[in-house]
Amino acid sequence: MQRSNTYILVFTAIMTVIIGGILSFTSQVLGPAQKKSIELDTKTQILSAVMNINKKEDVLGIYKKSIKSMVVDINGDVITKDKKGNPIVAEQVDLVKNYKMKPADREYPVYEYKNPSDTSKVEAYILPVYGAGLWNAIYGYVALESDLNTIKGVSFGHVSETPGLGARIATKEIEDRYKGKTIFDNKGDLVSVTMQKGEKKDPALFGPHQVDGMSGATLTGRGLNAMLKNYLGDYEAFIKKNQQHQ
């Protein structure tokens, strides 16, 4: 059936308006719920660096009771306003956007974890990290003990590493390998923790700054190493400052 050009133009115009209306309506209605989901997801990830989070637990409640967040700059000084003078909230700092800036210009969130039963001292400092894996971005949170040297736990995530190979960084098995490792050597220099090539499956073979590798995922491992080294380096000023306080 041949229609006139005018008909086609009017038809597509009306359809565009209807579709646009449906889409903006959906976005408006679901906006608040989406914001909540993202918040819950971020907070779950932060907490999972220091504890095992069960899906049914009241993540927001635990978070509110045990986490104090702040933002520091490359010199380790606490900042409360961004360059335009708007207040910064650590949970809302966009890691992707910051990653694209020069390290000196970035905002670095720090999450202090205090045990709700003993709030007198900080039990762990949780630091977000971000970098590139083999295929796409990898990210995570590193929790340091109160000595700011020993790793209390990590939680990693990835966008699209190979399932069964690089994607293993997000599993408990790999994350647990980082527990108890230290990031400073005896002289006090930052050496970070390096994942080795190959997989030996014997924790006794590795020193305090090394973890067992992932078989078949050496490149993801390299990305992981670079991510930790870069970000721990960026946080070094903050770490050193807080170590002196103790």
Partner: protein, 222 residues
């Protein structure tokens, strides 16, 4: 021929039962004899990509059934208004809208699945099954028939990818819906098969399903 003369005789005829034999065929055919995945070999990309675990596969199935049914319905309702020269664009518009709605709902109420499926839900837009049904069926049939046809094709797709996911998760991770099956029945020595976690595993399971089905139905290549 104008649309009025096309529809008129139908009104005078006695109404066809809601699930007449002819209509049941719309639902039953794509489940087996004319399955979109195993016979028509459409929608393979997502069948490979999302079937590592049961849970995301189930969500994906629901999403595809939803999109295919409602885009069939919407397209069928406006089929006589759609200008032939821009019909593909109109169909794409309908599908893309529904897919975006699904993706937004997922983002709001199941963020974890949104992270897992994110890109693939968006790719339902290019899922050949949906587009194929609109062009081949909804453009020329009445709304209720189109809904049934959508249900048939949707579930035809769903059962295949769920079966693939079942075997991939069971053999690749030793679980079903994240429930450790092998561990619970005492078979702790069973090693996970890494091949199943990779897309190669999906190819193999899918091929086996096609083999079994074609042998049973006596399928002959035309």
């Amino acid at each position: 021929m104008s649309t009025e003369t096309l529809e008129q005789p139908v009104v005078k005829k006695q109404a066809e039962p809601l699930f007449s034999k002819r209509r049941r065929k719309f639902v039953m055919d794509p489940l087996d004899d004319d399955n979109p995945v195993t016979i028509q070999v459409l929608g393979i990309c997502s069948a490979l990509a999302v079937t590592v675990k049961m849970e995301p596969t189930l969500i994906m199935s629901i999403a595809v059934v939803f999109v295919i049914v409602f885009s069939n319905l919407a397209t069928s309702l406006i089929r006589n208004l759609i200008p032939g020269r821009v019909r593909i664009i109109v169909q794409l518009g309908v599908i893309a809208t529904l897919v975006t709605v699904v993706s937004e709902i997922l983002k709001a109420y199941n963020y974890e699945m949104y992270k897992v499926l994110g890109a693939f839900v968006g790719l339902i837009i290019t899922n050949c099954i949906v587009m194929g049904r609109l062009e081949a069926f909804a453009m020329g049939n009445k709304p209720w028939d189109s809904v049934l046809d959508g249900l048939g094709s949707g579930f035809g797709y769903a059962w295949v990818i769920l079966t693939v996911a079942f075997f991939r998760e069971l053999l690749g991770s030793g679980t079903v819906f994240d429930y450790p099956v092998f561990e619970k029945i005492g078979l702790t020595h069973i090693q996970n098969n890494g091949l199943m976690v990779d897309s190669i595993g999906a190819f193999m399971v899918l091929a086996l399903i096609i083999w079994v089905q074609r042998t049973r139905n006596g399928y002959v290549e035309h």
